[in-house]
């Protein structure tokens, strides 16, 4: 099935790039790997018929958040590379691998062979409808949160 092939392609790209984000010694390479992860999530959203979330992912994450990260790396440059600490990385690897094993067991045990077959009819209109009817309070609260974050980060980062 073409969708299965597309899923495995993008899942492999995202997983490999995520691994590079956490293990790259060069910080700029880690940021560029993060771009690949964030951009590679969008086709996965489209495979689940979530086209609005996919476009917002590209606009917000790849278009703004990663630029912020690159600026942050540029302005706080204290060396090109970030060395890996051997003593904590073995324990951290064991913890995250164990947690991954538990999660995979729980997921496969609970959902086994359940299929995802999303309806592909106009999900953007449906998202807008549900967002601005059932979840309008959360929507307005997010706007206030963004305003507070905007003012807060300007106040924190300005030079005076």
């Amino acid at each position: 099935m073409f969708q299965q092939a597309a899923f495995y392609l993008f899942a492999t790209v995202v997983a490999l790039a995520a691994w590079r984000v956490v293990t790259a010694k060069d910080m700029t390479r880690a940021a560029l790997a993060l771009v690949v992860v964030l951009a590679g999530m969008a086709p996965l959203f489209i495979l689940m018929a979530a086209e609005f979330v996919a476009v917002v992912q590209i606009l917000v994450y790849v278009g703004a958040v990663i630029i912020l990260f690159l600026f942050g790396l540029m302005l706080t440059r204290s060396g090109k590379t970030s060395p890996v600490d051997r003593s904590t990385s073995l324990l951290a690897g064991a913890v995250s691998a164990g947690f991954f094993a538990v999660l995979v067991f729980a997921v496969v045990d609970a959902f086994g062979y359940a299929e995802v077959a999303p309806s592909t009819i106009g999900t953007t209109a449906r998202v807008g409808d549900v967002l601005l009817r059932q979840h309008v309070i959360a929507f307005e609260a997010i706007s206030v949160l963004l305003l507070a974050a905007l003012v807060g980060s300007i106040v924190l980062a300005r030079r005076d």
Binding site: M1, Q4, F7, A11, V14, A15, A18, W19, V21, V22, M27, A30, A31, L34, L38, M41, L47, M48, A50, F52, V53, V56, Q57, Y61, V65, F69, G72, L75, T76, S78, V84, D85, T88, A92, V95, S96, A97, F100, L103, V104, V107, F111, Y113, A114, E115, V116, A117, P118, S119, V127, V130, L131, Q134, H135, I142, L145, L146, L150, S153, L156
Partner: protein, 99 residues
């Protein structure tokens, strides 16, 4: 397409993000690992929304994206402040509350 494929990929991203948060010593790289965790959560939300044929999963994924953007803004402002005071952002060295 199986639901568990998406959930296992989200679990993988989550655990790679947790490994990054635990291992990285640069503040900006820790924030990047947190973005991996948030993306894993988004994938989970949209997958379950598609599984139950409801758009509420996508609505909450949009909220998570907005909150992540706000958090990155504030987090980087804090990292900038730390850098101005100490000229480096090795998180291992920031171990005292007294400025």
């Amino acid at each position: 397409m199986l639901l568990s494929q998406y959930l296992v990929l989200a679990a993988l991203l989550f655990c790679v993000g947790v490994y990054g948060v635990l291992t990285r010593r640069n503040g900006v790289l820790v924030l990047m690992s947190i973005e991996l965790i948030l993306n894993a959560v988004n994938l989970n939300l949209v997958a379950f929304g598609a599984f139950h044929d409801s758009v509420v999963g996508q609505v909450f994924a949009l909220f998570v994206i907005a909150i992540a953007a706000a958090e990155v803004g504030i987090g980087l402002a804090i990292v900038l402040l730390i850098y101005r005071r100490r000229s480096n952002i090795e998180l291992d060295q920031i171990d005292a509350l007294k400025g």
